[in-house]
């Protein structure tokens, strides 16, 4: 798992690559919490390079969503690979996030 960030216009774009499995999720959670603590109002998580997720990764996505809702901010996800989208569908996650087909579309919103 690799997480990087970049400010594009008014949005903070986080890019996650690789696998979000149980072995990686603690590191991911720590990085994410640190970023959220900076209080950004608009965060986009680019998942084009994310090729595996388990419930421990999903857990953290839900934490981000709850935190961003708590501060009245915007959180959206873009560029999910089909296999990850399937996991989102199975777990009802596709109904609780704002999901965009690509970063360009996500930035425009």
């Amino acid at each position: 798992m690799k997480l990087s960030k970049e400010k594009l216009n008014d949005a903070l774009v986080l890019t996650v690559e690789g696998r979000l499995d149980t072995t990686q999720s603690d590191a991911f959670e720590k990085d994410i919490i640190q970023i959220l603590d900076e209080g950004e109002q608009k965060i986009i998580l680019d998942c084009s390079g994310l090729n595996y997720i388990s419930s421990s990764g999903l857990r953290i996505f839900l934490i981000i969503q709850k935190k961003m809702m708590g501060i009245g901010g915007q959180f959206s996800i873009c560029s999910l690979q089909p296999a990850i989208m399937e996991v989102f569908d199975m777990s009802g996650f596709s109904m609780i996030f704002s999901i965009h087909p690509d970063l360009e579309t996500a930035l425009k919103q």
Binding site: D21, S54, S55
Partner: protein, 138 residues
């Protein structure tokens, strides 16, 4: 009938061995990457739960996985000597709740059942045995 067996110890880091094993088997048995990925997910959830919940002592325990593939059925039997736990009786989370009301966690067993076509459980002497089957149409 193609078959393979591995022994894992109850440590999360063993997930890497699980993944390597599964990827090798899937390529030997010509199973698609998509199937491999979703079976990996189901096994990770089952394995992680055993590591996290099955043992109260701090001792190492053996968790075995038997893989077999025949007649378009991929079967995995997971055995552990932890406390009795029957996931087939676990009630499903409500996945239609909005984000605010969704609890954090509680998806692992649910995903196992979604991915595998058949899940059954047996307690034999001091072992939990979980039988997982996936139909492969290819």
């Amino acid at each position: 009938m193609k078959a393979h067996q591995i022994s894992l110890v109850n440590k999360i880091s063993e997930l890497e061995k699980l993944r390597d094993t599964l990827e090798n088997l899937c390529s030997q048995w010509s199973l698609s990457p998509a199937i491999c990925m979703s079976v990996n997910l189901a096994l990770e959830e089952a394995f992680t739960n055993i590591v996290n919940y099955a043992f109260d002592d701090q001792m190492p325990h053996d968790i075995s996985m038997e893989f077999s593939y025949a007649e378009n059925q991929l079967k995995v039997v997971i055995a552990d000597d932890g406390k009795p736990y029957d996931p087939t009786r676990q009630t499903a989370p409500d996945i239609s709740l909005p984000a605010k009301e969704r609890p954090i966690g509680g998806l692992g067993v649910f995903l196992i059942k979604k991915i595998m076509d058949d899940v059954s459980y047996e307690r034999t002497s001091n072992q939990n045995k979980l039988y997982l089957t996936k139909h492969i149409n290819q």
